[in-house]
């Protein structure tokens, strides 16, 4: 069995083995192996290519951009996605604009340990994907499975553009697969994680598993719920979403991030503008509450959507 976190470590090991242009840079990623051990043992296996950085997110990202200009393919780890705001300027103004301005590609992979876990609190729990997807010039991946964590990270390193790789901390240890994948769905294609005909849930990252649990529960009441895993939110596979809505006529979009201007809003905007006639009922969405992410499990468990709250929303959608 291999965990989601081990898959991320294995993908980085393979990237280092396959391509001498790859190096890893970030806080505590060297001998210590990273705060979550996503780079465990890599500094020893690849001497001089897995480097500890100062606590300097701006300089970590900025230096990766400079190295990419010189032909390297850096993987940088932000210790927590939340801290990427300190490097935000370099990501959205430097990395995202470089190719468009100068025709020089910027192949950097920025790993963001994302999303909430119990007890992590307001500054170790954030989901930043919508923020980065907003900026032209960035690719934003949100893998929800062990297989995707592995294959999409390898694809991220190979892509000639800056990739924001949102890996969910909640999945690190709990999510397991039999083996690493030998085939991969390309980025930009969503996946139908469960087929159904009564309603479509569109989601991504850790919320996929809440949605699947909900669909399983609803199946005992004879509801057939289709669940779509977006895999990457930029590019967003609108076609697969529309095709599903064409089959089911009902849409619920679920995201762990905050609601305002986020992924759920974007999906609904696209379906409403490009496939309004496909909808039998008004679309719905479910997000985290619009407050900072709370610390205590009692609050956190209610702050984010769960299989239970998704089911409540779904029943409302199905009865409309």
């Amino acid at each position: 069995m291999i965990t989601y976190l081990e898959a991320i470590r294995e993908a980085q090991a393979k990237a280092l083995a396959d391509d001498p242009r790859v190096y890893i840079y970030g806080q505590d990623v060297g001998q210590f192996g990273g705060a979550f051990k996503a780079t465990k043992g890599l500094a020893k296996e690849y001497p001089g290519r897995v480097l500890d950085s100062p606590i300097s997110e701006d300089a970590i990202i900025g230096s990766a951009i400079g190295a990419a200009i010189e032909g390297m393919r850096p993987i940088v780890e932000m210790q927590f996605a939340d801290f990427s705001t300190v490097g935000f300027n370099q990501i959205v103004n430097q990395a995202a604009t470089l190719h468009w301005r100068t025709q020089v590609p910027c192949p950097i992979t920025i790993r963001l340990p994302s999303g909430g876990t119990a007890g992590a609190g307001p500054f170790h729990s954030q989901s930043m994907e919508a923020l980065y997807a907003h900026y032209p010039g960035l690719i934003v991946m949100t893998p929800a499975t062990v297989e995707d964590a592995y294959s999409m990270l390898l694809e991220a390193v190979a892509i000639d553009d800056p990739v924001i790789f949102c890996e969910h901390k909640y999945l690190y240890y709990h999510l397991k697969a039999e083996a690493l994948p030998t085939e991969a769905v390309p980025t930009g294609k969503a996946r139908i994680a469960r087929q159904g005909r009564d309603a479509t849930i569109v989601t991504y990252s850790a919320m996929l598993h809440e949605a699947l649990a909900c669909a399983e529960e609803m199946a005992s009441e004879c509801w057939e719920i289709e669940v779509i895993d977006l895999r990457s939110i930029k590019p967003l596979d609108t076609d697969t979403v529309l095709a599903s809505v064409a089959r089911t006529g009902r849409l619920l979009v679920v995201g762990e991030a905050w609601p305002w201007g986020g992924v759920t809003a974007e999906v609904i905007a696209r379906v409403a503008t490009e496939g309004f006639a496909l909808l039998d009922t008004p679309p719905m969405r479910l997000n985290a509450k619009d407050t900072p992410v709370p610390y205590h499990p009692n609050l956190w468990g209610t702050h984010r959507p769960t299989a239970k709250t998704i089911a409540v929303a779904l029943r409302e959608l199905l009865s409309a």
Partner: protein, 345 residues
């Protein structure tokens, strides 16, 4: 015989300074004249957006560009027309970017001083001050990974940028990695309208070198020879493994922040002080005093520079402008991942 050799050696030394000084003077002159032309075009409505001049900073900028070699890395800032030329940027890259030519390096996608050719080591600055410092550090890190030795990266910043987080993070990272990086600070006394007294509280910016564990150099930015010597020394030290070098040059910006700014906030006493001297005029006086050239030669060379610049502008004026209908609106290198159908409708 001994005497003759001594005279010869002395004359070689002098002619070396003379050659360097005259070459530097020429870059300074071209920069000054092309910027005057750009300002005239701006006033005539031929340039959209801002115009930012380097008047008063040409000696420092030229010295930076000249101390570097082809293949080094240079991240110029907004007052580095002279250094860009000395590093190898063409006049056409300047006129084309200011005038929006589709044939320029930025193809109308970015303008004025926001230009470069990163694949040739000339970084294209973004507007956020200090941001290019970590980028150059990264380029040097990459060269280390690839085993490239004998290389240097120079970054130009102003006194205002020393207050940014990127300055701190970038210089600290460069120091930790002992990178061959030269950070040139033009302390031109004002960041836009803000005087240094509202920018930092240290007595002298060069003292920051101690805190970062890097070498510090101070130089009179109005004195071309001093700038040439100091920058050469700093670049050589970095090239030879001495780690990052912080150069602080004192001078005064002799124009507004941009051409839209009359710089009415500049203290008249500063203008009268030695900081307010025009480095180009001082260089000219020095050339005449040393009899390295005659007044007539200088006038001829000014005429020739003027002709070159008129030609570059005339060429640029004939060139195609960006066309929104044929523009490629994909921001990615990976074309198939562009979101074609998602324009805000």
């Amino acid at each position: 015989m001994v005497q003759a050799t001594a005279v010869l050696t002395a004359s070689v030394d002098i002619s070396d300074l003379k050659a360097r000084f005259l070459a530097a003077y020429r870059w300074m002159l071209i920069a000054r004249v092309v910027e005057e032309k750009i300002a005239a075009l701006y006033r005539g409505g031929k340039i959209t957006g801002g115009v930012f001049l380097g008047k008063g900073q040409e000696a420092l900028s030229t010295a930076t560009g000249m101390a570097l070699r082809k293949g080094d890395v240079f991240a110029p800032l907004i007052r580095d027309q002279a250094g860009r030329l000395a590093f190898g940027e063409s006049l056409l890259d300047c006129t084309r970017t200011y005038m929006g030519s589709r044939l320029g390096p930025m193809r109308g996608r970015d303008g004025n001083v926001h230009r470069g050719r990163p694949q040739e080591g000339l970084m294209a600055m973004i507007s956020h001050l200090g941001a290019m410092l970590p980028v150059v550090a990264g380029a040097l890190l990459a060269r280390r990974f690839r085993g490239v030795e004998d290389t240097v990266g120079a970054v130009s910043l102003g006194d205002g940028a020393t207050s940014t987080g990127a300055f701190h993070e970038g210089l600290n990272l460069a120091a930790v990695e002992k990178l061959p990086l030269v950070l040139v600070i033009a302390n031109n006394q004002y960041a836009y309208s803000t005087p240094t007294s509202r920018q930092f509280a240290c007595e002298d910016l060069v003292d920051k070198a101690i805190g970062y564990g890097v070498a510090g150099h101070s130089v009179d930015g109005t004195d071309l020879e001093a700038c040439l010597d100091t920058l050469q020394r700093a670049v050589t030290a970095a090239r030879n493994g001495g780690g990052p070098q912080l150069v602080i040059a004192s001078l005064l910006r002799l124009v507004g922040h941009g051409e839209h700014d009359d710089a009415g906030y500049v203290d008249p006493k500063l203008r009268q002080s030695s900081l307010g001297a025009d480095c180009l005029e001082l260089a000219e006086q020095r050339i005449l005093r040393e009899q390295w050239a005659t007044a007539k030669t200088l006038r001829d060379s000014q005429d020739e520079v003027q002709r070159q610049i008129e030609e570059a502008v005339a060429t640029t004026l004939r060139e195609p402008l960006p066309d929104p209908n044929t523009e490629d609106w994909c921001p990615l290198a990976t074309r198939h991942l562009c979101e074609g159908g998602s324009e805000g409708r």
